[in-house]
């Protein structure tokens, strides 16, 4: 009865009411920001007294925002590619090998995802300062790779576990080398897992802000760092315009991921 909607009685109204409020709580702030990005009020008056595109124009006119956007994009794309590659190799080892300490290794690879990121950020900051990697592309990519790798390993590991090894072995029996079999039989079969790994790795780097704050220099900063430093100064509507662009991007990626899920054979 408690798990049957039609027999919940009055509880049904209570649940629906709370859920409606929570949905409003989750959606309203995002909606307000999108509305304010088109609002004419410098002081973010809501509802806006008039409508304008000037914040978007200001955004496009400021080369710093574009530079930060491109930096973020560059780092996130490199991280997505490397993380998927390294994650793929590691996942093969973790799912197919039988060497000792595999479980411990998997746990080690996932640790960066569950520890407070600020600890990793200051630790890396200390080492990178000495190696002069702060404010460099290499430094950013290395740092974000560590953050992204767990997502790749989970996505690819799940895909590999669902894939029947016997098919790969059959290819080997038919005369393919192990590498050929993996490249031409296994990889196509787990492509959705690879795609998910790349997508999540991209997002992990794209949205990452704590490590980036420590890695950034005045010459090289990602979009989240630029937003963070702007936020510390004022709440300019230009940030609402940037935020709205990011919301649209998120929705698009979510749509892509949903299509992916639909295409997955179950």
């Amino acid at each position: 009865m408690l798990l049957d909607y039609s027999r919940l009685g009055w509880l049904r109204y209570a649940l629906t009411g709370v859920a409606a409020l929570v949905c409003a709580y989750l959606l309203a702030p995002i909606a307000v920001i999108v509305a304010l990005s088109f609002g004419s009020s410098q002081w973010l008056k809501f509802p806006p007294p008039g409508w304008t595109l000037k914040w978007y124009r200001a955004l496009l006119a400021d080369p710093d925002w574009l530079t930060a956007f491109l930096t973020s994009l560059e780092i996130a794309v490199i991280v997505a590619v490397l993380s998927t590659g390294i994650g793929l190799m590691a996942s093969f080892g973790l799912t197919r090998g039988s060497f000792r300490g595999r479980e411990a290794l998997r746990a080690l690879f996932l640790t960066p995802m569950v520890l407070p990121v600020v600890i990793f950020a200051v630790a890396l900051y200390g080492v990178f300062l000495r190696l002069h990697l702060n404010g460099t592309l290499v430094g950013f990519v290395l740092a974000h790779l560590v953050v992204a790798l767990p997502f790749a390993i989970i996505a690819i590991g799940n895909a590999l576990e669902r894939f029947d090894v016997a098919i790969e072995d059959a290819a080997v029996l038919c005369g393919a080398s192990r590498t050929q079999a993996r490249l031409r039989v296994t990889l196509p079969a787990i492509r959705l897992g690879l795609f998910a790994a790349a997508l999540f790795s991209f997002l992990a780097s794209w949205d990452e802000v704590v490590v980036a704050i420590f890695m950034a220099s005045p010459d090289l900063q990602t979009l989240p760092v630029k937003i963070f430093t702007s936020l510390r100064q004022d709440l300019s509507p230009v940030i609402a315009a940037v935020s709205s662009c990011l919301v649209v991007l998120t929705a698009l990626l979510m749509g892509a991921a949903a299509l992916l899920r639909r295409g997955r054979p179950t």
């Binding site: 009685g9 995002i30 590691a90 630790a123």
Partner: protein
């Protein structure tokens, strides 16, 4: 398989793991270890950094505040998330899918975007205060930002999905027949809830609550932007000690304290529910 073959196979698989291992060892384990070493080596070898942290009223207040915020956020996300997860489990596929999409959209939206939204909404001249003033409910703006209220509202917003999703997973795995059986045996709705529903969900609730609590403990950005000087949390203290004050020894000691608390909480969860519950929390 011939005996040599298994060993060769393992060697080959291990080579595949090597790049990931090198990356995590050099860019993660080594820097964290180096940081922890600095907590006992700087400015001179000894435990004086830890002594300083645990003797200072200021730093102890940061600890206290960190645990207070994490506990409040866990409590609020649990009470808001439980009904939502419940409805998500029993609603028709369309409604359930819509709820799920809203939760995931919010989770995937850029963290700074969401924090910025609350800064705009909660400020003195913000939407909420203006609406309340307009309705005549208050005569001057409520202090909603740069204090505990702001931090709890903002962090609840961000961590709510991490409570809803594991709770939903736990409820989905529950067999409705058990509850039907309870009804057939004469249990009232309250009895079924108290004696069957809640106990069967205990591990899911614990997983979600611990996940949110641990994540809240280490949060940096949102409390830094929505809280005031009096509400500093541990992560912000660590960042400030190291980045602004360049006090590496003290900052490293605070980081070590956060690390120990986090690992201890994960150990409790691991002991009680195994590794699966921990991963479900993502």
């Amino acid at each position: 398989m011939r005996p040599g073959a298994a060993a060769r196979r393992n060697a080959r698989e291990f080579v595949g793991v090597a790049p990931a291992l090198a990356l995590v060892a050099l860019v993660f384990v080594l820097p964290v270890a180096a940081l922890l070493l600095r907590s006992v080596l700087e400015p001179q070898p000894g435990l004086q950094n830890y002594a300083e942290i645990f003797a200072s009223a200021t730093y102890l207040r940061v600890f206290e505040n960190t645990f207070l915020v994490a506990a409040l956020v866990t409590l609020v996300t649990l009470s808001l998330g439980f009904p939502v997860a419940w409805l998500m489990t029993i609603a028709s596929p369309t409604w359930s899918g819509l709820l799920f999409a809203i939760v995931v959209l919010s989770m995937w939206t850029n963290l700074l975007t969401r924090t910025y939204a609350w800064m705009v909404l909660l400020q003195n001249t913000g939407v909420i205060n203006r609406a309340l003033l307009g309705l005549g409910l208050i005569s001057q703006p409520l202090p909603l930002i740069n204090n505990l209220t702001g931090v709890v509202i903002g962090m609840t917003y961000i961590l709510l999905p991490f409570m809803i999703l594991p709770l939903h997973a736990a409820m989905r795995d529950l067999d409705p027949a058990i509850l039907r059986a309870a009804a057939l045996c004469g249990a009232t709705r309250g009895q079924a809830f108290r004696l069957i529903f809640l106990p069967l969900l205990a591990s899911g609730i614990a997983a979600g609550a611990l996940m949110v609590f641990v994540m809240a403990l280490g949060y940096y950005i949102t409390p830094a932007l929505l809280g005031g000087a009096a509400n500093m949390m541990l992560a912000e203290l660590i960042a400030q000690l190291i980045q602004s004050l360049l006090n590496w020894g003290l900052g490293a000691a605070a980081a070590f304290a956060l690390l120990v608390v986090t690992l201890a909480l994960y150990a409790v969860q691991f002991r009680a529910f195994g590794f699966g519950a921990m991963r479900e929390g993502r």
